[in-house]
């Protein structure tokens, strides 16, 4: 079975799981300056994206601001 990350509630398969959160954002083309992230329920400060290692089965939430009242 291919390695999987659960990203925003959906399983996404990778041949090789991106090594860090920063790598994942680059692959997804998400500007890291605009998001806040949770990995397995823990909030990751933006300056730690680079040294947050990812592994098969991790749950990741990528969140950003949208218009709201």
């Amino acid at each position: 079975m291919m390695p999987t990350l659960k990203i925003n509630g959906e399983d996404k398969n990778f041949e090789n799981v991106p090594s860090t959160l920063k790598n994942l954002l680059e692959i997804l083309k998400v500007d890291e300056a605009t998001v806040v992230a949770e990995v397995n329920g823990n909030i990751i400060p933006r300056n730690s994206f680079n040294n947050t290692a990812l592994h098969d089965g991790f749950k990741i939430e990528l969140i950003r601001f949208v218009g709201g009242g």
Partner: protein, 256 residues
């Protein structure tokens, strides 16, 4: 117009603006500017992985406008607290519009969960602006818990019905030691002026501006109405009487 102070921050404008429902980021930005506001609410949602470029925050000048992240979508205290922490991690600001709305039809706020979340978030150092039903007892409990404001609703969110909770909001204003922001349901500038005349410290408006045919013009209309209502409150209204009280002199008539 006196300056509004919330949590030691001064505001020249007493109109806060929601950023939802605008047809484009450009119209949102122009409407914000036309409103004269100094604080805008934003929501937190999952990034659309299929369309990751969309970034509304780029359209908001953070030097001019304080961001007030909301906890919309939270159905209980735990979800609201999670969103609050994410918002703080995203922005480094600790201001928060706390809203807990378990019922999707009327979007009425849950008083028990809101109070519970407020107590925890205040201890965590958040400047908490709770969205509540117009309940004077709850407002006092939140104020005692250390919230920076209370924000009673005029009528259900986005309903544009105007102030349907007038008597309760009047009691809240009379008892409050923190600013009272009338939030939700204000559909017309006259509704906003009414809230300000009643002595509300500020109002928060989104739908009425964002979904007007001309949001920029409506933003300006709300700006003027809020200023007029506040000036009227500060001026002190003349009393209401049952019978006429002539404005012209009752002497010197041209008759014998």
């Amino acid at each position: 117009m006196k300056k509004l102070i919330i949590a030691n921050k001064e505001f020249n404008s007493r109109l806060f603006i929601g950023t939802g429902k605008y047809s484009s980021n450009e119209i949102m930005a122009k409407s914000i500017e036309a409103s004269g506001t100094e604080m805008v609410t934003v929501a937190l949602r999952r990034v659309d992985i299929q369309n990751p470029q969309d970034n509304m925050l780029a359209a908001i000048d953070r030097k001019k406008y304080l961001l007030l992240p909301n906890t919309s979508g939270a159905r209980n205290a735990d979800e609201a607290i999670r969103l609050a922490r994410l918002a703080r991690a995203a922005t480094d600001i600790n201001w928060l519009k706390l809203e807990v709305t378990p019922d999707p039809y009327y979007l009425l706020p849950d008083p028990v969960e809101t109070l519970k979340a407020a107590q925890i978030l205040v201890k965590e150092g958040f400047v908490v602006l709770p969205y509540i039903n117009a309940d004077p007892i709850l407002a006092k409990k939140l104020q005692d818990a250390g919230t920076a404001t209370v924000m009673p609703l005029a009528s259900p969110i986005g309903s544009n019905q105007g102030i349907k909770t007038r008597v309760a909001i009047e009691i809240i204003i009379s008892q409050a030691s923190v600013p009272v922001v009338v939030d939700a349901g204000l559909g017309l500038p006259s509704h906003a002026a009414e809230a300000m005349e009643m002595g509300a410290d500020a109002v928060l408006v989104n739908t009425a501006i964002a979904t007007a045919n001309d949001p920029l013009k409506m933003a300006n209309a709300f700006k003027l109405a809020v200023q007029a209502g506040r000036d009227a409150f500060e001026a002190g209204a003349a009393g209401v009487k049952n019978q006429a009280d002539a404005s012209s002199p009752l002497t010197g008539f041209l008759r014998d």
